[in-house]
Symmetry: D2
């Protein structure tokens, strides 16, 4: 319950200012030669301090695999792993023991649990996603090599990448700090984030993710539809506010005649407003979806707030925070998607006798 995945599952632990994050991946098959450098590469894409437009905190984010891998290959038994928190400074957060930051989870955790680790947001910190990147980057290694998952920043605030994804060169995603493969748009986005950062403000945006060469048949017909599993995973990312796939909210404006994807004689479709999924099951076309992220709640400006007794206080974010989470969310989206796919892939192997 409350794991990631259905058969291939990830169970996690860790709090912002605890000593360690970590997780257990169960039902990972035996015999995979693990590409550890890929895992670290994905962690590096997510880690703080990698560019000027993200938080300047430093974490090496090195993963320790504690079980389930022997002589470089998976053994089929649970994969335990940890990532040390190197940079926790609890004293930074003493002032938050009793104050509720606006649009943070301080108040809801306090009400739900009555006892919480308030340091750095405790359990509600997005540092949790470091676990997901470990698990997702391993899970991706279970997918057929031809399956390619690429996410990129498709908007920052009001700046949108107007080109359809088909016109973008995904090999350029990591060529700039904001992870938008359209250089011109990327430059505008970066400039906007720098501006916002200077103001001590933050900004939201969207990420588009495209999965190519997914075989037909992935996803389950009723409560495990591919789009529902992806949506659930994405909406669990800390700042996520929305998910749409294929034609998405635009499709809701259309008529059936315009929206239907007619077949070619090779079972591909002429259009792909369906987003590569019919009846919850992949149809062999590109699966693509878009995820909305709100602006980070911690701003480096004074804000009116209250403490746990309802008394008025003034809060001002201190320290090293992200002005925009989008660049670091790209590997989170990709690796989460990989985990979802690997889980459904496993299950699909059992669908026919």
């Amino acid at each position: 319950m409350f794991n990631l995945g259905n058969f291939l599952t990830l169970s996690t632990f860790g709090e912002s200012h605890g000593s360690t994050y970590g997780g257990i991946i169960t039902n990972f098959p035996a015999g995979l030669e693990v590409d550890f450098s890929e895992v670290q590469y994905q962690l590096d894409r997510r880690k703080p301090g990698q560019s000027k437009i993200v938080t300047q905190r430093k974490e090496s984010d090195t993963v320790n695999f504690l079980s389930g891998i022997f002589e470089g290959k998976t053994t089929g038994t649970p994969i335990g792993f940890t990532i040390e928190n190197e940079n926790q400074k609890s004293k930074d957060y003493g002032h938050l023991a009793e104050a509720y930051r606006p649009s943070h989870a301080d108040f809801t955790y306090d009400q739900k649990y009555r006892h919480r680790d308030y340091r750095g947001g405790g359990k509600s910190s997005a540092r949790e996603t470091v676990n997901w990147v470990v698990a997702g980057s391993l899970a991706k290694q279970l997918l057929p090599e031809k399956v390619k998952i690429n996410a990129y920043v498709s908007s920052v605030g009001e700046i949108f990448c107007e080109k359809p994804y088909q016109d973008l060169d995904f090999s350029k995603i990591d060529s700039n700090d904001v992870r938008c493969p359209d250089e011109e748009t990327a430059a505008k986005m970066i400039a906007r984030i720098k501006e916002i950062k200077k103001e001590g403000n933050t900004i939201g945006g969207t990420i588009t993710c495209v999965i190519k060469n997914l075989p037909v048949g992935i996803g389950e017909p009723v409560f495990g539809k591919l789009q529902a599993e992806l949506a659930k995973a994405m909406l669990n990312i800390n700042a996520c506010k929305g998910f749409e796939y294929g034609s998405g909210f635009c499709g809701a404006k259309m008529t059936g005649k315009d929206h239907n994807d007619l077949f070619n004689e090779d079972f591909s479709t002429k259009t792909n407003l369906s987003g590569g999924i019919q009846g919850g099951i992949s149809n062999g076309m590109d699966v693509y979806f878009r995820v909305a992220f709100k602006p980070v709640a911690t701003i480096l400006q004074p804000q009116q707030s209250i403490d746990h007794e309802g008394n008025s206080v003034i809060l001002e974010g201190k320290g090293r925070h992200d002005p925009c989470v989008l660049p670091r969310a790209v590997p989170i989206v990709e690796n989460l998607a990989a985990f979802v796919l690997a889980d459904l892939f496993s299950i699909n192997k059992l669908r026919k006798i």
Copy 2:
């Protein structure tokens, strides 16, 4: 696995042209005096043939409770139920045994399972949602009475209900056939659907759902965030293409300073761009979300398609189909949301010693 819910769960079965739909609800507590008329009322809101802008098929959609209820009260043991299919006419669908309808699941099911019930879409039919309405309308009876869940049609095609939900009178939702509480907009929507129906076409739209008076603390911090559980449920509805809550995709354009919801001294917030959820947990404000539905794929016009060998065929939808699913989707959204909440409510009772 692949049930609805985590602790309170619904497991279902049924195909479009099988004899019976049904389900089992587990972990429903003992002692609830069941309001059966509420269950039937919700089924009636969903059933075909209720107005001129929905399918004219006839189904009485009467539920039979087979266990778990004794002398009108739940016993705490599994609640089994069935709904008979009264109106299946298999011969209507003989022509679909070998043809793949555009933007339907015929092709993906055939590839995934190699053997499928093709009649009326078989397992992929939205008739499955009849099970969800039964379960949701029971689950809703577990929630505190003050919790109010109201969904309404907020757009049909390009016609949007421009008023914010706060300005609408939810008691008027069922006062017109399209289930939009703003009479003027409703009239336009109905006219548009009639027009579309006359063309043998179909049209999409969006539903907005508002949950009022939800206590603080509902939802789980990591893989069971309230928004993620709602998104998963909604994206499992057959034509759903997107989900957003609170500020949603619009929030992605904003800055933190504008987006943060400042506290009042009574722990409510001055604004509610968060959509009543912080860190995955309800904060006592209104929870609201929006769901996008694509236009129905079956249109009463000839369409080019292929059969299972890739040969070109002409298909033309026959019979009684919905020109627009939105009006009938309103009770589905509401009752699904109720089930999600009742599940998380149960679990929340175990969060503190």
Copy 3:
């Protein structure tokens, strides 16, 4: 939660005097040509009234498959089924609304739920096992044909079948009413049960189950050990008091030198005190286990008891009860074991890349 099985699962409903029993089997693969006569055959072996030494109640115990099977073959989607209760006579049980029968679940249900269906034991009735036989007899069809599961009555009261299972002819199990393949012992058992029945008393016994030709590799290393899954299933049978496999409780008296099963050069073992399982995983040798059943609690003699207020009452079982459940428990044990194996079989397919 609280289903039978881990991946292949059975969820059930039904009460002794409700209208219907039934269940949903999920994750059953597509493409199996169902042998319906085998299902009915197993139901007939379990049903009441089949011989003079079991209850004389009459139930046809016919299963209705409502979904998941099309044109005789499974479709990979949930299999819903029901079995009507034909013979419920609620008035027989009016006297039990307020009395607690000794060694029945009346008291515990009342305390746990405060509201229960008291008729015929309600949910606690062993009639529930009819669901398991349906599911198990289907699941068995997923196993390799060479896998043979045979259970037999190995003791009734103090009468034991002294021969080791290797010396028995399993084809004779059903050749007599008590289902012990050793004719001489069977005759003694039957005589004993008749005697007991005449007294209005009941008697316990044990069932031995032997699984032959199970491939190596079935079972999971930590919380899903093959023996643990079998034990869990068996201990859920209503009158079951114990489970042992391989050397069992006798093995606890032995030394390692005597207990170890030495290998032959073909990886079989010279002895099989292990009962075909090492580290929770089948090793290719016979898996065998023994299940203890207490005597049926309902006796046709007056017994002192109490009502729900603690007042003394005299109860006397009426109607048609089993003097000994063992003969009817044989197909329950076999089909439950089949379900457990089919579940672990599925999962084992995903253990290697």
Copy 4:
């Protein structure tokens, strides 16, 4: 899947010669003041080297809690923990890379996974139970204080503690090395184990566990019967061969008239052959069960065996092994039972509205 527990769950990892064991406990409620010394006390009761009749390996078995506990109290979020392996010497086990030890899991793991950590049995090592003791000793702190769980060694080989548990003083369980509270029997058991040890042999035995003051209502009616959950947990212990509760296998010899537990007017029963459980639910009487353990497979004598190609080899156990696991299994049985109870306790809180 394949966790311990249903709602309160334990997921684990670790191999005999990996660096670390550990686990994640989910759905543990917030607000428990953790008694860490109790956890360590239980680990000390299980750890190697504590007396002359158990293995002389040395492990400090210190647990590190990494999350879910803040300022000494649980926070309601996942509790991650690790225990370092201090004493792994991989070179000791090089000779086992290719040989299959009799009655060990070497062969079955090799067949199931094709790639395994062979050092010290890898995943199949009983060192895994260290995780269970951590989780169980925490879970026990969730139970009402009056609930008392006591296990003791009731037989070693042919030496049985003949007294019924009611005549034993449980406070003496830990007063001797073998953990049998009857001093006279304990002395015989210890002498027998020393003798066996001197021979380089090993010996089996049984453990009896008694749970006192368990409230009425614990356990679930169908697939989660209290006895089934206990049996599953116990049969997952590495050397366990059998489980019986209440009258157990002896009850199978009895008649209903003798076996039925008649009520007293206070709802207690005059006898307790039921073992404190009716219909899978605790009835307020003592719950007691007995667990059989086979003799340890590793003996310090030469044994004929084979390697992975089927070639004959001679193996001789080396190093520091338990001549009898029973004394160290006592805390494993107790703490596992505590976990099972705490899980069912939680769930029972949700059974009535």
